[in-house]
């Protein structure tokens, strides 16, 4: 009994603590692991809401900006050809 029950109880306690710790840490954030599917709500960070062409600062539908935003500038942004002079870089991991 001692050789089975006590080790089994210790294992159960440690497993329970580990499960509780992993659930509680990081504010419930899901962990991203490269190469594995990662479901989350897309987010767009701006320093100030007025930095978006649609000054209402409401949620956007990614990939469908022309219908999601109503301001004239926004509609133009979806239609116009890419502005020359933009730069940047692309990369993969």
């Amino acid at each position: 009994m001692f050789f089975v029950g006590i080790p089994a109880a210790a294992v159960l306690v440690i497993a329970g603590l580990a499960a509780a710790g992993s659930r509680g840490s990081g504010g419930g954030a899901k962990r991203y692991r490269p190469g594995r599917p990662f479901d989350f709500t897309p987010v767009w960070f701006l320093g100030r809401p007025e930095q978006l062409a649609d000054s209402a600062g409401t949620a956007l539908t990614a990939g469908a900006q022309a219908s999601a935003l109503t301001s004239r500038k926004q509609e133009q942004a979806g239609r116009e050809a890419p502005a020359s002079g933009t730069g940047g870089a692309s990369d993969r991991w």
């Binding site: 990081g26 504010g27 419930g28 954030a29 899901k30 962990r31 991203y32 692991r33 490269p34 190469g35 599917p37 990662f38 989350f40 709500t41 897309p42 987010v43 767009w44 960070f45 701006l46 320093g47 100030r48 809401p49 007025e50 930095q51 978006l52 062409a53 649609d54 000054s55 600062g57 409401t58 949620a59 956007l60 539908t61 990614a62 990939g63 469908a64 900006q65 935003l69 926004q74 942004a77 979806g78 116009e80 890419p82 502005a83 002079g85 933009t86 730069g87 940047g88 870089a89 692309s90 990369d91 993969r92 991991w93």
Partner: protein, 143 residues
């Protein structure tokens, strides 16, 4: 079709009074990471006079064009720098506007992208974003 992107505005969104957490908490970051990204964005904006923004979510093909469309949605595209990260596609796009490009040449943007993808490859999305913002703002200098 991608799910709705939640636009965060640095400060906390207005409370709806329902007691429900803001939608941004359904995103890929914890509260602590959100605060760190917010701080990095604020410092980058204030330090450079440019407008930095970070999009984390799926990008439609061709991803570069989608990132440029997002960039054009910003109020001042010429002065703006958009960092677009698609974790599932493992793709990073950084778009600089006409004026921002003069402050941060593409060579330096590429260097920042390299260090960012190194963090992303290790599973650290928030760390990569913050590191990228810091590097881009450092290269841009004071506005």
């Amino acid at each position: 079709m991608e799910p709705e992107a939640q636009v965060t505005v640095g400060e906390a969104r207005p409370e709806t009074g329902t007691g429900t957490p803001p939608d941004v908490l359904d995103g890929p970051f914890s509260t602590r990471q959100l605060l760190r990204i917010d701080e990095a964005l604020r410092l980058a904006d204030q330090g450079t006079g440019l407008v930095f923004s970070v999009y984390v979510g799926g990008l439609d093909e061709p991803v570069r064009e989608h990132a440029e469309r997002l960039h054009r949605q910003l109020a001042e595209p010429d002065r703006s720098v958009l960092i677009a990260v698609s974790p599932n596609q493992r793709q990073l796009e950084i778009v600089t506007g006409k004026y921002a490009r003069k402050r941060i040449p593409d060579t330096y943007v590429k260097l920042a992208a390299l260090s960012m993808v190194a963090s992303f490859g290790g599973g650290d999305l928030a760390g990569g974003v913050i590191q990228g913002l810091d590097q881009l703002a450092s290269h841009a200098g004071k506005g």
